[in-house]
Symmetry: C2
DNA sequence: TAGATTGTTAATCGATTAACAATC
DNA sequence: TAGATTGTTAATCGATTAACAATC
């Protein structure tokens, strides 16, 4: 029985991974939790606690081997293995994702794009042909993609999500500004841009009030 | 001296706002913390605690007036007043944001787009002309936009961020997969899509392991 | 007035930080 | 061996939940 890791820890892992990636690119061989904590503006204690949820990756008196730790976090994040991604909805965000080659570098390969709009069907985005939504079921059942990026309008999102999960999708990257209620074995990661912008707006106001008090 | 609100609370506010928006569209007049908690899958206690950070918006024996609470949360989030947004970097994500009309509905108006690429300069995105980065300083100093959306490659992000804040920008919506270290009066909200995708990858692996154990 | 539900205090739970023995 | 730094336990801090008096 494996331990459930708190989401606070999981949220931090990609950031560790990014810093370690930069260190290894600079040919840094070893790093202590103290050095890393200063770079990242967190406590050394937190780094050690976080990592020890998954195992002892360091060595007393030495610290952590950068390359090794980088690879181990990659394994924890599951990006040691490649993922196939389909994009559902060839609107602005869907096309932006399809064009964003950074994902491929991390092993996420966009394999297909779907849309309902006949004017878009047949055209290409980043070398990938946009297909009709009518082919979606067949495509999922035959190729079993790992992830569906949902970039359809929010009205369609819940029903499309229900469909694709019924057809075999187990992971949804949801860009629609709405909640998806799906069966327990489907994992969801939300990207709610409007909420992000609202939080920025909150910070702007809070900052202004702080300055007015001074 | 106003109380500092924890970021956990602030993260939840836009979600309350979204649910209240849906309720008012359905002409629901009042709601209790208990009802809302059931819809949102949180505790009623948390809703009441969160709201009471900002004031008593409810009434004993009655609950909360939907329209009133919606507007009050809007004020807390600072979206009762409009914001002007400039986009720096007319790549895929920059153009996707420029095209995303949902922001306008919340009072965020895209007023300009900038890029270094001569092939893009002069063309239009959603009716907004892409301008040369050479005009960026002048534009900021003259029109004082509220927010700069940073959608340039990660190598350029830190220096562009330093420039625009020196010229008068106080809020950055950062899409570059890198950290921005700026002076304390600049507020930053990060959207790190690759990190989001990595968290989804983690969840996929964790879910698989869970199923293998059963 | 009785019932409902808030606002708020107190209790619990979980996450972060500090401390230090283990060990390279 | 001495010094450094981890892994891990214990202490602290903060966030969430429960409880209930206040009040509409």
């Amino acid at each position: 029985m494996q331990k459930v890791i708190s989401s606070a820890v999981i949220k931090r892992l990609p950031r560790y991974y990014r810093y370690l990636d930069e260190l290894r690119k600079k040919d840094v061989v070893r790093i202590s939790s103290k050095e890393l904590s200063e770079k990242m503006n967190v406590t050394a204690s937190q780094i050690r606690q976080d990592l020890n949820n998954f195992g002892g990756f360091g060595q007393q008196g030495y610290g952590y081997n950068v390359e090794y730790l980088y690879n181990e976090i990659g394994k924890i994040l599951g990006i040691d293995l490649p993922h196939t991604v389909i994009i559902i909805g060839a609107g602005n965000i869907g096309r932006a994702i399809a064009n964003y080659d950074d994902f491929l570098r991390r092993g996420f390969q966009i394999t297909a794009i779907f849309d309902v709009n006949p004017e878009l069907i047949g055209s290409e985005v980043n070398g990938i042909r946009i297909q009709s939504m009518e082919h979606l079921r067949e495509y999922i059942e035959e190729t079993k993609p790992d992830i569906a990026a949902l970039t359809v309008p929010k009205e369609q999102a819940p029903s499309v999500a229900a469909d694709v999960t019924a057809w075999g999708i187990h992971a949804i990257w949801n860009f629609a500004p709405t909640e998806l209620f799906l069966s327990g074995d489907v994992v969801i990661e939300n990207v709610h841009l409007t909420e992000s912008l609202m939080r920025l707006s909150y910070k702007i106001r809070a900052q202004k009030q702080k300055q007015d008090e001074e």
